[in-house]
Amino acid sequence: MWFYIARRINLFVFTVAVLYLLVFLMMSALPGDLATNLSGVKNPTITQTDIIVEQYKLDKSWINQYLSFINQRIHGNFGVSFSNGSPIFDEMLTLLPATIELCVYAIFIALLIGLPLGIIAAVYYKKTSDSFIIGASLVGYSMPVFWLGVIAIMYFGLDLQWLPVAGRLNLLYQVDAVTGFTLLDIYLSDIQYKNLAYHDALAHLIMPTLTLALIPATVVIRITRTSMLEELNANYIKASKARGVHPFIIIFNHALPNAIQPVLSQISLQLSTLLTSAMVTEVIFSWPGIGQWLIQATYQQDYPTISAGILICAGFVILISVATDVILIATTPQRRSAVHGSS
């Protein structure tokens, strides 16, 4: 077990190192001065240049440069943004919670919708409801996020005027960003109309979250269905049935705990897709998260910001997949036989 965890951590470190190497090579290949690209300081003064050269060891060999690049980034120095000159790391800290908030709620909603539907589909295997759920999930899976978001805005926002279409909260509620998570911030703030603020924040959340949740939800439905089917056909289920155990108990006590593991591992694999869709969703719904920020940076050719975005987003995905891997192994002993992590 410990050996397995060590191997995973090893894998994590090397993947991140390769990621940093790629980003570093990209930075050197980009037009412009490497010092400017790495630090984000445009037209630096002589003292600034000296500091940058010292920080990134630009007078040494490229391996030294690469190592000090990693060193700077790990210590939170991501340079400053080309467009407004503010430290990228601070900016990211204010934006990341918005994205995480959106993703967490989306995963929650995906499980909320996906698990029950997947179970229903498996229990009523090859019945009408199964075909209906599977058909609907296929339609949902094929729906592009950007299209769905725009249609939702058109219909629920502009036609019916049920839901707000942009931002996280009506700005009349003065909620200071303490944690960056709107609902928590409202709880921590001392504004007058808290209930209204909660209401407003939730109204702002509904459309982006549902849009983002759609694809993971369909994936959850399909995986849940498959693995539930497998379990329901297992001999121990048949034995329970024969003993006359209540079907509800069979499904929830016996089959589901075994069937849920592949679903959870699938969710972690979905994370990179989720982050990509989150960026699109953020742009559509003017959600002030990391996706919108990165796309703006791409427009403005803000290289330090783009590279920081790559490092953080890719690093985040790697970290989460390694972490879920370890947790899954810890909770599923039969997987541990694959010591070398071939899957």
Partner: protein
């Protein structure tokens, strides 16, 4: 959910696994329960913000600072001029005259070179975490605010760049001889010569009064940059916070000399995309929105909760001809172009009808407008005839410079340029369109390397001088603002004569003549006066549209009665 499972890392035996399964079981059951409740209870409900006494304004961009003296950028003046500050005298759009501001009375001497202002007493400056005013507004603040602009040795002159574009245009430094403090509540400004447009310039959005006491404190703290970025003024709202690219928050100034605003807070929701602004307005995230695009006007008109405010703008969009270059040094060619351009088609295609055809450089609303000008009607045959007379029977090739960015006077210059290109090709003139981003465009124009240029002008006050002098005087040739590269001494003389009188009636004939000579000599072809638009929710009152730009929320309020009914619905 996953974290407690990790506890089982160390060693797992059968019993624990069973315990774990029961635990998972419990989670899943309660989870199902929540799922049912949550899905059933998911009835969307929009909140009308009826209980939060404030107004959200969807603005189009980030202000460059909070001091309008430093810019002619309308986004900046919107965010500061009438929200945070006051002027000595104010221009009232409804009355069309100058009304008292921080000066409750003023006198102009008989020779029109001395302006005496009697200042209002008991006017309080804002306070913030760093600054609490110890005295009321007085003459020192006025002298500080004007001197900062005109005195290049002033300690604040070069803070924030040292550029005061509006004041450079109107020649403030040359026109003001000295400012004399008579007592704490009375000042006299001595001019070097007569200038009838001076009082209009004092009332302009840009001539705001800042606190000298605050400025002095910032010098002592060595935080001089904050004067323009953490603003202190006397206006109806107090600056609260600004988040770049996100929002600006203001709180009502409870000590405001002209009555505390009815709304408790004002928020500028910075939304660069026009469609997003309209969407936010429709869903209630904004109450008032800036600059809707002409193409969106129909959608807004159809929506019963929105109200579109329209105002003839004091602006002009024109095609300037470089009168020093061949073939535009030939009057006949310039006239031919005027006949060859179909202004009506441009107004329909580019402005979607939200503009009026321009015959003169002055909009018809102006008191100096010359209604007897002979318009150059759209007439291709006449244009061809004139071209033949000028010796360009087979046409010629010309360059047309423009900038693709949206301006108040022209929502889509690129499209306008393309239409002109098509229209001129009918008379045999081949047009090459050259376009640059706005900043590069304005800097490149100074070299006069173009044949023609599609640009425009937005007036800062109702004085007609504001249209002529910055654009067509010989002096403007030096500063590069004279885009038509044109200097006519008779024309200049008319302008100079006009500002010698302070009585409107006496000035009018000179402006009529000036317009007449522009119409005859055609250094430019006026195209359109764009209408100004603003959209607001019908629940909001007291926000009027100012023809010279800069929105004011001082008198804004939310109609309460109507709102309660809506909530009940």
């Amino acid at each position: 959910m996953l974290f407690p499972l990790g506890v089982t890392l160390a060693n797992i035996n059968q019993n624990q696994r069973i315990a774990m399964k029961n635990w998972l079981n419990l989670i899943l059951k309660s989870y199902f329960f929540i799922a049912v409740i949550a899905l059933a209870g998911c009835t969307p409900n929009i909140d009308n913000n009826s209980l939060t006494p404030g107004i959200v304004y969807c603005s189009e961009g980030d202000p460059t600072s909070f001091n309008p003296q430093l810019t002619t950028n309308e986004t900046t003046t919107d965010a500061s001029s009438y929200q945070l500050y006051n002027r000595l005298v104010e221009y009232s759009p409804s009355l069309g005259t100058i009304v008292p501001g921080l000066a409750h009375r003023w006198f102009i001497s008989d020779d029109a070179t001395r302006y005496t202002f009697y200042l209002r007493k008991n006017v309080k400056f804002h306070s913030n975490d760093n600054f609490t005013p110890t005295r009321d507004f007085n003459a020192d603040d006025v002298i500080f605010s004007i001197n900062r602009i005109i005195d290049s040795a002033h300690s604040y002159h070069n803070i924030s760049g040292g550029d005061y574009p509006f004041f450079q245009h109107v020649g403030f430094t040359d026109i003001i001889n000295k400012i004399v403090k008579v007592n704490d509540y009375m000042i006299t400004i001595h001019l070097t010569e007569k200038d009838a447009s001076f009082i209009a310039n004092i009332a302009a959005n840009f001539m705001i009064i800042q606190s000298k006491e605050y400025a002095d404190q910032l010098i002592a703290q060595d935080r001089m940059n904050e004067l323009d970025n953490v603003p202190i003024g006397t206006g109806p709202f107090v600056y609260d916070s600004y988040f770049h690219n996100n929002h600006i928050r203001y709180k009502a100034n409870s000590d405001y000399w002209d009555g505390t605003p009815e709304i408790e807070q004002l928020v500028f929701n910075i939304t660069p995309k026009s469609t997003n602004r309209i969407a936010k307005l429709m869903t209630g995230d904004c109450d008032v929105s800036a600059l809707p695009q002409s193409s969106e006007i129909d959608v807004i008109r159809k929506n019963p909760t929105l109200e579109l405010q329209i105002q003839t703008g004091f602006n002009i969009s024109y095609l300037g001809l470089n009168t020093e270059r061949v073939p535009f040094n030939n009057l006949k060619v310039r006239q031919a172009l005027a006949h060859a351009i179909n202004k009506k088609a441009i107004i329909e295609a580019v402005y979607y009808g939200s503009a009026t055809i321009a015959d003169s450089i002055l909009p018809p609303l102006s008191w100096a407008y010359n209604s007897s000008l002979k318009p150059h009607d759209y007439d291709i045959n006449r244009a061809k005839e004139l071209l033949t007379q000028a010796g360009f029977k087979d046409g010629f090739t010309m360059s047309l410079w423009t900038s693709p960015e949206q301006r108040i006077y022209n929502p889509n210059s690129q499209k306008t340029a393309e239409l002109i290109q098509g229209q001129l090709s009918l008379v045999g003139i081949k047009v090459e369109i050259v376009s640059f981003g706005w900043n590069i465009f304005t800097s490149k124009l100074k070299d006069y390397q173009y044949d023609s240029v599609l640009t425009g002008w937005t007036a800062n006050n109702d004085d007609p001088d504001n249209f002529f002098r910055p654009l067509f005087s010989c002096a403007a040739l030096l500063s590069g603002a004279n885009k038509v590269n044109w200097c006519d001494n008779d024309f200049d003389e008319q302008l100079n004569k006009a500002i010698e009188f302070s009585v409107q009636r006496k000035r009018v004939p000179h402006y009529l003549k000036a317009q007449q000579s522009l119409n005859q000599l055609m250094p430019l072809i006026p195209i359109a006066h764009a209408l100004r638009f603003q959209v607001k929710n019908r629940n909001i009152g007291g926000v009027s549209l100012n023809p010279y730009g800069s929105i004011s929320f001082a008198k804004a309020y939310r109609k309460k009665q109507k709102n309660k009914q809506q909530v009940k619905k």
